[in-house]
Symmetry: C2
Subunit: 338 residues, 2 copies
């Protein structure tokens, strides 16, 4: 493979001129530029990114940090981010910080970032003070999705408003006995979104003057499998709610399966709604409040790119809030007359 020196030699110019011509800088005569471009093409020249990085101090790579890549939400984000960045000449190095235990994750280290990336996008991973300090010390712009880092821009949905939409949908259908799945222990690795959604559930119920039965608020690890197990006892009891709102579609799927196994008709005797519009929710007929995950990924990528290209100083500090929308389907219906 040829280097910039090869191109310079056959084009009969200096490497400095080749460098300028190829990067479209001004102060190169049109004729020279044309000649250089031709030769570069002819030699299949592609600049060594590693040499470019060393000389320029910029890698055009961004770190994308995810807590679990295997879940739909995160995979969808990564896909959208990667495509958006690639269009703008940047690449993504992926870090899947998932640990063996649910409550922990691997820490972000200097090794992962230093001189390797120009910035980082963190996907719903609440950064520790140490990690924030590290990113600061390395001078890297940071954009987060989901859980905000104070003082840094964040792309997210309005978790409270979204949950309120779900609950009000059920209330509008006449439900008064409503349960909740998706409470999370306070020491869990990811708490912000769960807490916001649960808070909104409580608030909405209270404002509607509906009973808040603590036994109907169930903990779960946000997987479908766990949600099915976690909701089983409640659904099997005689005195059960007529509707359940799950803090995510995956959990809603689990709840609906638990109901099916107990032969409880959905939505005849039990309504179930989630949040997300998971890729399988439509085919499963699950009512939900949709969030546009890919749009969040693109927005975060754009925010970071703006900081990297640097026509402005640093990253804008504003949050970007992507709207959500109710998508009623077949898993919710009128409250049964008791």
């Amino acid at each position: 493979m040829s280097t910039i020196t090869d191109v310079a030699r056959v084009a009969g110019v200096s490497v400095a001129t080749v460098s300028r011509a190829l990067r479209g800088l001004d102060r190169v005569s049109p004729a020279t530029r044309r000649r250089v471009l031709e030769v570069a093409e002819e030699l299949h020249y592609v600049a060594s990114p590693t040499a470019t990085s060393l000389a320029s101090g910029r890698t055009r790579v961004v770190a994308v940090v995810a807590p679990f890549l295997t879940r739909w939400f995160f995979a969808t984000l990564v896909s959208a981010i990667e495509k958006e960045l690639r269009v703008h000449g940047h690449h993504v190095i992926l870090f899947d910080l998932e640990d063996d235990t649910y409550d922990q994750r691997l820490p972000l280290t200097q090794n992962m970032l230093w001189k390797r990336v120009d910035g980082v996008i963190s996907l719903n991973v609440p950064m520790t003070p140490d990690e924030v300090e590290l990113v600061d010390r390395l001078g890297l712009p940071l954009v987060s999705i989901g859980s905000a880092v104070p003082g840094r821009p964040c792309v997210r949905i309005d978790d409270r408003a979204t949950m309120r939409t779900a609950v009000e949908h059920l209330i509008g259908l006449g439900h008064r006995r409503i349960g909740y799945v998706g409470d999370v222990p306070a020491n869990a690795a990811h708490t912000q979104t769960p807490q916001d959604r649960l808070t909104a559930f409580r608030d909405t119920m209270q404002q509607a003057g509906l009973p808040l039965v603590e036994e109907w608020i169930l903990g779960s690890d946000w997987t479908a499998r766990a949600a099915a197990a976690d909701s089983r006892t409640l659904l099997a009891s005689a005195d059960r709610p007529t509707a359940i709102v799950a803090a995510s579609d995956e959990m809603a799927i689990g709840v609906r399966e638990a109901a099916r196994r107990l032969d409880i008709d959905v939505p005849g005797r039990l309504s179930v709604i989630g949040i997300d519009d998971h890729v399988l929710s439509e085919v499963l007929g699950l009512s939900t409040v949709r969030q546009d995950v890919a749009a969040q990924g693109r927005a975060a990528a754009d925010l970071l790119l703006r900081a990297l290209v640097g026509d402005e100083d640093g990253v804008a500090e504003d949050d970007i809030v992507i709207p959500t929308v109710l998508v009623p389907r077949e898993s919710t219906g009128p409250a049964p007359v008791s």
Copy 2:
């Protein structure tokens, strides 16, 4: 942040010695090594990967190329690969080659690979001759998962045996009228796995002396949503099969939903089985033939690492075949007595 020169200065040795000491090369006195290690620690020194790459010619980065990252199978692979490589000091640059149209994908380019990665792992993307030639020209080792590239190592499952297992499960339950979902047009971007599975379906049916009804072999784009739509007409007809084998769990989920909407009891009047053991299959009670996707990712990563570390010459050429296993659940049952 400090450089190797800083470390050399405060340790009172040359940069060459620092380089050797830090990389654990021999020919450094224990005392010197200890001193260098201390200073490096003290200064929070981390070598610039970009400078290391330029000097050594190795990036310790591998390209992972996926056709759609948002599907469970691919996300699971990427996650497993990333973790395995990271343990061995390598990082992943991700390329999501998904295009807007289903039948196409973006091509691999020199820009993505040249001096940027040391090797590539391709996830079920059939490489074009041009792409293979490119990878060769750049001297990059290549490991594929799923669809083999001639002469290169490949990690995969035995698609035919796996499909045979699924079909024989149905036959064992007394089914004789069996349909198939997952045929794919010959010009699709991904054909190997679909073709192998369909071939195995035909062969197994034939060997069992069962009727092969062409109208019961349905095309689909391998999503749950499409499979639900694609199987609807067949399921609604009076003369329908008593069992359907889908070439993937996602399609099986779609088929089962189509059945549910038509009020066809599963497995009472229709058995459905897929292939994968998708993350949601257990909670949905879907019978399937399980493949260990993470194991495939790890195996591919290890294969590539062996070529990169280079204690052997090049990558071993053998395929690695990961076994699959029948997981009967609630979506399959005895054939209804007609």
